[in-house]
Symmetry: C2
Subunit: 338 residues, 2 copies
DNA sequence: GGCTGGCACTCGGACGGACAGAGTGCCAGG
DNA sequence: CCTGGCACTCTGTCCGTCCGAGTGCCAGCC
């Protein structure tokens, strides 16, 4: 077990390194933080911390930098979450309040998060898994061509074109629309298949083909839309670590382009509370020198999706976590209102 | 006027520099391209080209590199558009044919273009300016709350929530829906305001407030949706010029995040045919060391939007132009079919 | 036992000179 | 108008030196 002072030393190393981006030595530490002991003492502590794997030196006779394990301890035990200041809170709220629709909410959230944290922001669109159907609309475009429009309670709208096996009359279509809505409106996506199962039986034989086609398209849409989308922003912030540049930035950009990777990344994070994945804790290799701070957000008590930021392991964890938490909270409010 | 051989020298310089990314000297030129003259002669030609401002040397006693003006001449006079090979064409078509909806078409196009050119791809969503209304749907969600869904002939769907000044009955809503569609379905966006102008007059006094609210929301949506959206991809390709790195990449990433900038960029490009903007020809400062190759695409003869790539001025113009043109052509086909 | 000051040691980064190589401009001759 | 030759310039690189920061260890002190 590490003594109290050694933990303080580790905390100081993390803080200094995050600030200066340079390995920190024993002398600088005692000067900048009022540790009340001499550099030599700190050196002993550092040696112990290094033995335990919390810090490392890039070269002999250089200062120390935290390892992933060191950051982990820092995040878990040594650092709190820095709350946003009241002006910041107001700014967040003002910025998000202007949104006109779901796309806009997500877009604004991304921008906001990127600006606040000065890092790359990732925001997942509200998932449909827990969503309910608000309305299903069927439009006749041509005798044997129907457009299906699905509207969800989160304000998302999806449409599909359907080629019917036989021409379908306005009356049948209206009938189908009415029956369909009376069964599925307000219901969860996951319940829909069961609810429409026997619907074709209510129709004349000649329309059954069309009804089945429409239903299967609807079910497909529900499933497909569970493949979640997301929006990213603030990639220009990656250039802030001009340091070890081309080495790290390319795989990160590549990862960010692969929505699949990002979705998996967010998916792996815990469902409740804030998750911080540091360096090699990320399964995806390209992100081994980055940390991901993510948290679920949602309109009610339930989290419907996640948002977070991707930045260098050397990041300001308390500040970043504070910003992420605050933004998630306000986005949840906005969604609940609309 | 430049002699034929000097133009050949310029062409050779551009080609070599694009290939090697290094200033090219007189000796290498005569060796790699069968110019049939000695290095000394080429040197004279190079001196002339430099006087005219087509090439420059980074330092005394280094090879020459093309200037923006040099690339311009190269693109205008010396280089053709390299057509895609048949296998490439097939690959393009296969890749795009799998798309299920408009979002998917755009997403696939971005990916494809980024891969083909190994540069940053930008694809504008089909513009609504020349679009027509396919259908307007009104859904009653609550006594005084209506959802407006607008469907366009390009397959785009937009929805808006409307709070009505007074409760509105199903019957009135159905009436409004029918009248509205009979007037605007199949019409161009730009004609809609004129067509619905006197619509409130057809309704009872108590419903007029609601009708006006709905109409103004519809008009707003039409206008707003003219603010075009776009999708970008392939930003990881920016890291390929590891060369003059942090200097150029940051402003470019910033520009790419600003959709406004990109839209303006595409907007400035000519409406017909392919446009190449080289280096300082781009109004936006951050893109001064990049070139933008763009072209309109559309379902019929008309271009409904633009797509293109952003890359270093030192790019393979013939190949890039060929890829951009081919992709635009196939996307047009896909849109026409759906 | 833990903290401290002192000391020798190591190593990376900066500085500077020497050198090779590439490329140029110019000139005289074919 | 082209060509070969020549002197010149500049960059990039290599190497040796030097300085400073930081360390580890040890003996002494509280």
């Amino acid at each position: 077990m590490l003594s109290e002072r050694r933990l303080q030393v580790l905390r100081a190393i993390v803080q200094d390194y995050v600030g200066t981006e340079e390995p920190v030595g024993s002398k600088a530490l005692t000067e900048r933080h009022g540790l009340g002991v001499s550099p030599a003492t700190v050196r002993n502590d550092m040696a112990a911390l290094e033995d335990e794997g919390y810090i490392a030196q890039p070269h002999t006779s250089a200062g120390r930098i935290p390892t992933d394990k060191g950051y982990r301890l820092f995040v878990d035990k040594l650092a709190g979450v820095k709350p946003m200041t009241p002006p910041e809170r107001r700014a967040i709220q003002n910025f998000l309040d202007g949104a006109v629709d779901l796309d806009d909410v997500v877009a604004r959230t991304v921008r906001l998060l990127a600006q606040l944290t000065r890092q790359v922001a990732v925001v997942q669109y509200p998932s449909l898994t827990r969503s309910t159907v608000r309305h299903v609309e069927l439009l006749s475009l041509a005798p044997a061509r129907v457009m299906l429009v699905l509207i969800t309670d989160t304000g998302r709208v999806e449409q599909r074109m359907i080629d019917c096996p036989a021409p379908v009359g306005e009356a049948s279509l209206a009938d189908l629309r009415a029956r369909l809505n009376s069964r599925v409106a307000g219901r969860r996506f996951t319940d829909v298949p069961r609810l429409v199962e026997d619907l074709p039986d209510a129709f004349d034989v000649e329309d059954r083909g069309t009804v089945s086609t429409v239903l299967s398209t609807l079910l497909e849409t529900l499933v497909e839309e569970n493949e979640e989308r997301l929006m990213i922003g603030g990639t220009a912030n990656l250039t802030r670590f001009t340091h070890d540049f081309p080495l790290t930035i390319q795989p990160v950009l590549e990862a960010l382009e692969e929505q699949v990777v990002l979705l998996k990344l967010l998916g792996e994070a815990g469902d409740s509370g804030m998750t911080v994945r540091i360096g090699h804790e990320n399964a995806y290799e390209g992100l081994n020198s980055t940390s991901v701070v993510s948290v679920g957000y949602g309109s009610g008590g339930e989290a419907v999706a996640k948002l977070g930021v991707v930045g260098p392991t050397r990041m300001d964890y308390p500040g970043t976590m504070g910003a992420v938490r605050a933004v998630a909270r306000y986005v949840g409010q906005i969604l609940a209102e609309s």
